[in-house]
């Protein structure tokens, strides 16, 4: 039986189904987790009527969204309008294919995994832009313009940070990066201060950029509901909106996975014991969800940044600092 | 630059206005000035020079006298002084100049007064319907208005 499962086409198919299921379940239940988390922070219970403690809320929401008609407003570019939700969901699915959940649990062990993730991760901004542009709504157009400039601005410090990590690790294979961090949390890249004393700063920059790239609060310029109603999604209803919504969470999963792999030692156990195999996957998920929880926590604490201070933050603080860390890492590596 | 009551009284008397000093505890204002309707801009300019701020512009429909009264309230930020300038226009042809050039804040108040009383403020930059529906042809605060 196990042998049958390891045949390449079957394996690929299994992983495909697994990743789609993982993404869908995450997207659905992270919405619930977000609402529950918001409830906790705001001292209310959150959704708690559908099922035990609201456990069926995502199902109810999904049925509601699916049952709604997808309206294409007159005057829109109907092809692009329909295509945008499809395009927004594809990149996170593709990215998850190269993310190693455990030592051997990876759909496709690519040598250029890091590059793959970043090249596909950048597509999702295009989908938002097209969706906003095609809906022929003034709020949506403002929003899509914002999304593009925001993503361009934050791609740069993020990639600079990733280049720093690339210099430290010397490989683009995500599995290899994790393997280098084996053995206790002091081996994690986050705490490798002897390689680069700015490593925690690098992590913070990466995290901020990830928030901005995934359009999460306090950088949620794409939606900015108190300014732009619903931003790029203003004209979307039913599952069209639902897919955008799910893609946001899928992107968070990808971003947090990447942060886990690059900085927090991926599937490695922080204390050295209980490692390997399915334990590894469990550690990975624990770290992943801790990061996701932080993302949720941040959203429900801060107000939204103003669009221009957002760009200022990127160009005036993040890019110089990440350049400095890049330089320092280079110097340190040459000396050591 | 706190204005004095005497100076204001002198200024308004020079404007062919009837000036009446009131007890604040009984009336809620210190100075009541009645001016002819063509003098309201000059009256507003006096208030402006003395540092007053516009409080409200409103009307009262005195149907028995067949007149409409337009009341301008001014209050002062730093001195506890309130001035009321009032003028009367005939009901048949309620028209008087706007003071929105002196106090831009009067713009909205005058639009509102136009809506409610049908008083026309000549020279007003934007005399569009304001609070009432765009197709309203009535002036609800006129005493002869029947809904």
């Amino acid at each position: 039986m196990m042998k049958f499962l390891t045949i390449e086409p079957v394996r690929v198919l299994l992983y495909l189904v697994g990743i789609i299921a993982f993404t869908a379940a995450n997207a659905a239940y992270l919405v619930l987790a977000e609402r529950k988390g918001a409830g906790r922070i705001q001292r209310r219970p959150g959704p708690n009527e559908a099922g035990w403690a609201g456990i069926l809320q995502p199902v109810a929401d999904g049925i509601k969204l699916l049952a709604k008609q997808v309206m294409v407003p007159p005057g829109t570019d109907s092809l692009l309008f329909r295509a945008a939700p499809l395009m927004v969901m594809a990149p996170p699915l593709l990215c998850l294919a190269v993310i190693p959940f455990g030592d051997t649990i990876v759909a496709c062990n690519l040598n250029i995994g890091l590059l793959f993730v970043f090249s596909f991760g950048s597509i999702n901004v295009m989908a938002l832009m097209l969706g906003g542009w095609a809906s022929r709504n003034k709020f949506a157009i403002i929003s899509s313009a914002r999304v593009v400039s925001q993503n361009v601005a934050y791609e740069i410090p993020m990639l600079l940070v990733v280049i720093t990590m690339l210099m430290v690790t010397g490989t683009m294979n995500l599995g290899e990066i994790v393997r280098q961090q084996a053995g206790g949390f002091w081996h994690w890249n986050l705490l490798k201060v002897w390689v680069n004393p700015f490593m925690p700063v690098t992590f913070i920059i990466f995290f901020i950029c990830m928030l901005a790239e995934t359009n999460r609060a306090p950088f949620d310029m794409a939606e900015a509901e108190s300014e732009l109603v619903a931003g790029a999604f203003t004209e979307y209803g039913g599952m069209g909106f639902g897919v955008f919504f799910m893609a946001e969470y899928a992107n968070i999963v990808v971003g947090c996975s990447l942060a886990t792999i690059l900085f927090l030692g991926g599937w490695q156990s922080p204390i050295g014991v209980l490692s390997g195999g399915w334990f590894g996957a469990a550690w990975f998920l624990v770290k992943l969800y801790a990061l996701i929880f932080t993302v949720i926590w941040i959203r429900w604490t801060f107000p939204r940044t103003q669009f221009y201070s957002l760009l200022n933050l990127s160009w005036k603080i993040l890019i110089p600092v990440s350049l400095v860390t890049l330089l320092l890492t280079g110097v340190m590596m040459k000396i050591l | 630059m706190n204005p004095s009551l005497e100076q204001l009284t002198a200024d308004y008397t020079a404007l062919a206005g009837q000036v009446e000093t009131c007890d604040f505890a009984l009336k809620g204002y210190h100075l009541s000035v009645a001016v002819p309707s063509n003098q309201v801009v000059a009256a507003a300019e006096i208030a402006d020079r003395a540092g007053f701020s516009i409080d409200a512009v409103t009307g009262v429909d005195w149907i028995a006298q067949n007149e409409m009264e337009v009341v301008y309230d001014f209050f002062h930020f730093t001195s506890p002084l309130r001035v009321v300038v009032r003028t009367r226009v005939p009901r048949a042809e309620p028209e008087l100049p706007t003071i929105s050039a002196v106090f831009p804040g009067a713009n909205w108040h005058e639009r509102e007064t136009h809506d409610f009383f049908g008083i026309c403020f000549t020279g007003h930059p934007n005399m569009k319907p304001f609070l009432l529906p765009e197709d309203a042809t009535f002036h609800p605060l006129r005493k002869d208005y029947q809904p």
């Binding site: 918001a38 922070i41 705001q42 001292r43 209310r44 003034k138 709020f139 403002i142 609060a217 306090p218 949620d220 900015a224 108190s226 300014e227 109603v229 959203r299 429900w300 604490t301 801060f302 107000p303 939204r304 940044t305 103003q306 669009f307 221009y308 201070s309 200022n312 | 604040f24 505890a25 009984l26 009336k27 809620g28 540092g51 701020s53 516009i54 409080d55 409200a56 409103t58 009262v60 429909d61 009341v71 309230d73 209050f75 002062h76 930020f77 730093t78 506890p80 309130r82 009321v84 106090f103 831009p104 804040g105 909205w108 319907p129 304001f130 609070l131 009432l132 529906p133 609800p140 605060l141």
Partner: protein, 379 residues
């Protein structure tokens, strides 16, 4: 960071044709707090002209005043600005008392001050939460409502209503303040001090909020004067104008409180004024609770109230600024004219001039800092 076209060195001049579009913000927009519509002529994200269009919930309170007796108009006054209903009722009963020369017992005056200031705090809390909501912070409004709920519970136990109190009557109050209320208010004052510190730590000191509000939406004192803006707007522009001091009413002269003034003229100054006002209101309540005497809660009022011929004005400091009632009586049982001068009306009227050249998120932050209540504008 006040971003204008000039600071960004964008090409404003030049021969290139500039394309503008009209953004119809509202009447149903999340930042419009009700049914305010702002017609914005935009050049990209820059506002060339923002024209507020109002009247969507106009109810003609002034006409309603002309066809019912003085007492019957009383419930209407709490519905003009539902967030500071006490102040509005105060102004109307004050005007009638001033015209009819009705004596108000001291206990009633103190109770009015206590309830008014409680109402001011609750109103500022709604503003605080709503402003943060405008800026994309979702949690503060729930913390604020948690505390506001305590005020509403107190006032509900006192007069039976949570929002449209109609608690003041000509010559006094609807019913007496009981010991449970006085004790509950004392507890609330104690409870509120650490909460205000929490507000400060969570929001006021937050760097994102400061970046959103500091140097955004400058409104000079001269602009305020030309438009008649009052309340926290004018106090945030460096003018210590407060009706409680300028035209003292009720027992405010006997109480010791400061008028918070900030000279920065920006949205942050208006924000800070309101935050400080909450503290000052707590101080006022504390003193009033110490000083409230025993005695009757309503004075002698004629059964059929007929006001002498003439006109009377009465102004109070509502949560949003100066609220004035002008009543004209022709000696009958019903008013001849009731004019309601509302603060939000004047505060919004300067928006068109003040928002010129701002970008959309800043303009909305500034609109939030003006603390608009749309029924108060439309009446």
């Amino acid at each position: 960071m006040n971003v204008t076209k000039e600071t960004l060195h964008l090409a404003t001049a030049g021969d290139a044709p500039q394309e503008t579009f009209v953004l119809n913000l509202g009447p149903q927009h999340p930042a419009a707090h009700g049914v305010l519509r702002v017609l914005m002529t935009m050049d990209g994200e820059w506002i060339q002209r923002a024209e507020p269009i109002i009247g969507y919930i106009h109810r003609m309170h002034e006409k309603m005043g002309e066809n019912r007796t003085w007492a019957k108009f009383l419930p209407n006054t709490s519905r003009i600005d539902y967030l500071s209903a006490m102040h509005y009722t105060h102004a109307f009963v004050g005007a009638v008392e001033r015209a009819a020369k009705i004596e108000v017992p001291l206990r009633a005056e103190y109770a009015r001050v206590i309830t008014s200031e409680l109402n001011r705090i609750s109103s500022h809390m709604v503003w605080w939460g709503a402003l943060l909501l405008d800026l994309g912070g979702f949690t503060p409004i729930l913390y604020a409502f948690d505390d506001r709920e305590k005020i509403l519970d107190l006032l509900e136990a006192l007069c039976g209503a949570r929002l449209t109190y109609c608690y003041y009557r000509f010559g006094g109050l609807y019913n007496d303040v009981d010991d449970a209320f006085l004790k509950g208010t004392r507890d609330f004052v104690k409870h509120m001090q650490p909460r205000l510190k929490m507000y400060r730590d969570l929001v006021t000191d937050n760097i994102i909020l400061r970046k959103r509000l500091e140097e955004i939406g400058p409104i000079s004192a001269e602009l305020c004067r030309k438009y008649g803006a009052t309340g926290p707007v004018i106090r945030g522009s460096g003018v210590a104008y407060d009706v409680r001091r300028a035209e003292p009413y009720s027992v405010y002269p006997k109480l010791d409180f400061k008028i918070p003034v900030y000279h920065e003229c920006d949205s942050m100054a208006r924000y800070m004024v309101r935050m400080d006002e909450m503290e000052q209101s707590l101080r006022i309540i504390d003193q009033a609770l110490d000083q409230i005497p025993a005695g009757p809660f309503i004075g002698k009022v004629p059964r059929v109230l007929k006001l002498p011929v003439g006109e009377t004005c009465y102004a109070v400091e509502a949560a949003r600024g100066r609220f004035m009632v002008r009543i004209v009586s022709d000696g009958k049982e019903i008013p001849y004219r009731v004019k309601l001068r509302t603060p939000s009306f004047s505060n919004l009227s300067l928006y068109e001039e003040a928002s010129r050249g701002m970008i959309l998120p800043d303009a909305l932050a500034m609109m939030g800092s003006l603390d608009l209540v749309i029924p108060d504008i439309d009446r």
